[in-house]
Subunit: 507 residues, 2 copies
């Protein structure tokens, strides 16, 4: 199918233009809502053209920066390109791009890290300011002007509804056979007019197949033909396999105790290699008839579906490695029998997550001995990616599992620490912590009881003595003994703390 066949609405055909022409419609200071979720469905041409335009303006000494709102992380062609030209005044709600991260952590750009389920409603509520432009990738424009979504939905519905002007990218690489995979829920309202979201199982369809949009808002249509860019997963390493093993043992134990049905409850799996390895482990595991209600469909889930182990997966984006993405695109017609893509306010909706009883599995940077989790900050100050949907899932899950290797940087840093330097998931939201060393089941435990199982089950042997010593001394010296701490050395495990101490000593 050529791109011409994809833009069937005559009025919109007349708005076809180049990416440069479209980018020229975006003015300095604008807030721009872009499509894109974990490397899928982001616009591939306009952000690059815009980055060139910004670069040229800067070269002329003219200020030119914009605010960019997306679904989640995008790709080098968007976050990377705009960060490199210092084009971001503000970025929300999630990113994972090295250049973008560098700009944020050097203090050059502002970044607002928001629960992914909150973003669309904040835009509707007027909490984020005015949305000037939307730049959204779609797979096709129907004759009546409705739009066939591409490989991610994210906040697209909201950007299309809220923006003054809309720029479409129509990507003919996306197999239009995925028509029917999407479920765009138009039933959301602002309070006090909200009603229940009527999803009772991961496969329930409650919305439309297409975006509906006022065509008069569309100011440009840009044709593209390029695939989503994703990084391959590394094959699971020994640690990931150990982590996966501990989780599978735990889930099997929960089934035996009658606390979980035989086919589990719907799975949510975070981003990253460890999460993918756990899904890989399920292929050989005893569980059948699985479902997923999650943010992103990774390779591991696709494998489960293909192996007949997973019946259905609901997500907001297809985030696959290059080979898997190709296969998925070719099989779109088949895949839509077992995959549904929804707006992220629905894929991550607290109401639905709690109702379905999700088993949530997410990565972490540090966990402390009392069960608080840091998912976002290195050394308490530098952003890694962002909280993403992990808070939506962890808080409302049936089981909230956090996983990590016990050390980072080749063993130089313990991921289990006395006190985390930043909290994304509080002690009230973490049921299980698991490392390659073992699993700590924290349900119903007091802080001191948690400290014992986290240190003994999860910490690396090299760091156990230090953690035990901290906890023992805290038990004796802490002013309060509900959550015993030595405030002046709670961060001493951190290289950043040591460096600061050293630099003060040298002063």
């Amino acid at each position: 199918m050529s791109n011409a066949d994809r833009i069937l609405n005559p009025a919109l055909r007349s708005k076809i233009m180049s990416a440069d022409e479209a980018a020229a419609l975006i003015t300095p200071g604008a807030n721009v809502g872009m499509s894109g979720f974990t490397g899928a469905g982001y616009p591939k041409a306009v952000p690059l053209a815009l980055a060139n335009r910004i670069d040229a303006a800067h070269a002329r000494g003219e200020p030119f920066r914009i605010g960019v709102w997306t679904g989640a992380s995008t790709a080098p062609e968007l976050d990377g390109a705009l960060a490199k030209v210092n084009g971001f005044a503000m970025r929300l709600p999630y990113q994972s791009d090295p250049n973008c991260r560098k700009q944020i952590n050097s203090g050059e750009m502002e970044y607002t890290d928001i629960h992914l389920s909150h973003v669309a409603q904040y835009a509707w509520f007027g909490f984020l300011g005015h949305l000037d432009v939307a730049v959204v990738e779609v797979a096709a424009v129907l004759e009546d002007g409705r739009l066939l979504p591409a490989n991610s939905i994210g906040n697209n519905k909201t950007w299309l509804d809220q923006a003054d002007k809309v720029i479409l990218e129509v990507n003919s690489w996306v197999n239009s056979g995925l028509d029917g995979m999407h479920d765009i829920y138009y039933g959301t309202r602002r309070p006090p007019d909200r009603r229940p979201v009527p999803i009772n199982a991961p496969g329930d369809r409650i919305g439309d197949r297409y975006y509906t949009i006022d065509p008069s808002k569309i100011v440009a249509v840009v044709e593209t033909d390029s695939r989503d860019r994703n990084s391959p997963f590394t094959p699971p390493d020994a640690n990931s396999k150990l982590i996966a093993g501990h989780i599978l043992d735990f889930l099997a134990h929960e089934v035996r105790r009658g606390r979980l049905p035989r086919n589990m409850l719907p799975l949510q799996s975070g981003v990253g290699n460890v999460a993918n390895a756990v899904l890989g482990g399920l292929i050989e595991g005893p569980f059948e008839d699985l479902t997923a209600y999650t943010e992103v469909l990774q390779d591991g889930m696709l494998d489960l579906i293909k192996a007949g182990k997973m019946r259905f997966a609901s997500a907001t984006a297809v985030s696959l490695s290059p080979d898997a993405a190709l296969a998925f695109n070719n099989d779109a017609h088949e895949m839509k029998k077992s995959v549904i893509l929804r707006p992220q306010e629905i894929s991550n909706h607290p109401e639905v997550i709690r109702r379905l009883g999700i088993i949530a599995m997410n990565g972490l940077i540090e966990a402390d001995i009392y069960g608080n989790v840091n998912s976002t900050h290195i050394g308490g100050t530098a952003i890694m990616n962002g909280i993403g949907g992990s808070g939506d899932f962890a808080r409302n899950a049936f089981l909230s599992i956090f996983m990590t290797p016990s050390t980072a940087k080749n063993g130089a840093i313990s991921c289990i620490v006395p006190m985390v330097t930043h909290v994304d998931h509080t002690e009230h939201d973490v049921h299980v912590v698991v490392t390659e060393q073992g699993l700590a089941d924290l349900r119903g435990l007091s802080p001191k009881q948690r400290a014992k199982v986290i240190i003994e089950n999860c910490a690396h042997p090299d760091y156990k003595p230090g953690l035990r010593a901290y906890f023992t001394r805290a038990l004796e010296e802490s002013p309060g003994r509900h959550t015993p701490h030595l405030l002046d050395e709670a961060f001493r495990f951190l290289p950043e703390w040591k460096a600061q101490q050293a630099s003060r000593a040298a002063e």
Copy 2:
């Protein structure tokens, strides 16, 4: 109405006994689910008798401790009495009793602090272990064995369902004219069988007026005739009035900007004097036709209802000062036209809170310059009360407001600090911080932008220079500048930190 008229079921009449006899049915090591929510509806006789029994056992050198699960905080006759005799092995999910707090913070008893909306489901899921006995206050026993609830619901439905044995206290002080005020929802299920909670407005009735229970589980019925014990509110001080004023100005501003309807959205108001003062402020404010969807009905809300300013309030407990409680009890028949009491998993349900779009107003102990909030810990180690429902509301609210005087202990401690020593509400869950100094609107802001408004608008003038200096130095010296920090002195504002430094120096 005498107590005899209150126990109409013949089988249950035959189980009437003394509190001592009933307490004798509770054995060492038992997990006991008790009624009680913020000083309302707690059992008044059996816990005291049990405390005596425990004390006597300890005097004989016999071990005797129990686990106690409640709705929320109770009263001296329950938490105080059992703490004094060291009778708690474990307490959950919330307390606010001085003796209990002392036991927890000295490390003598374990305390598990849980989101109030999570407790009932954790019990159902089997996450808390086995529930041996329930001790629940009710207002009457109907002829068919159903039970008329008293002044709080909390987790009573769940305790009655889950416990092996049930001890009832029938309190004839409670006006049975409140029959019809309660709404006990029996539609909850375990996943995967859950369905939407069909509440679309604070006044929607979705359940039964009475608890249903298998009468064969009831092992004792104890008659009581005593009022709920609540502490009076202190009249609003100057700071509380200033805080209330800032919040009312902000809400009026939001109405003018079209972000809030004229009659607001349903209010949730936390415990404490400041919260009560804000409600007091609304009486003179411009808002009409208010509603509340909250945990506890305080004096301030009752006044709003009586003044015709508030149309309807939904809560799980009536937590009034002594005079207001007396008036409420006398007017029960009238009050039930505008008040509904629900189980706490419904009053605090994330699904319902998000749907209704609550304006949540809660107290805090410390907020940091980046918008993280500590509601529970003094100096990071000693528990004050617990997170209560503040997380349920803050995370899912339309507007999440946290309020505090800018200093504590007569100005000796700044409640605005560089880094909180414990996080209950993360930077992602806090829209507004307000002190008597002013209000910081954090919506959509990055961490560094938040720091500026929190320091300038909320900090006390005595602490502003120190906070500014910290932030400025952190901007220069912090390894990462997304959330700039000096890890080795982030807690230096705390007396506990200073004390630890001093004691190390003396070593």
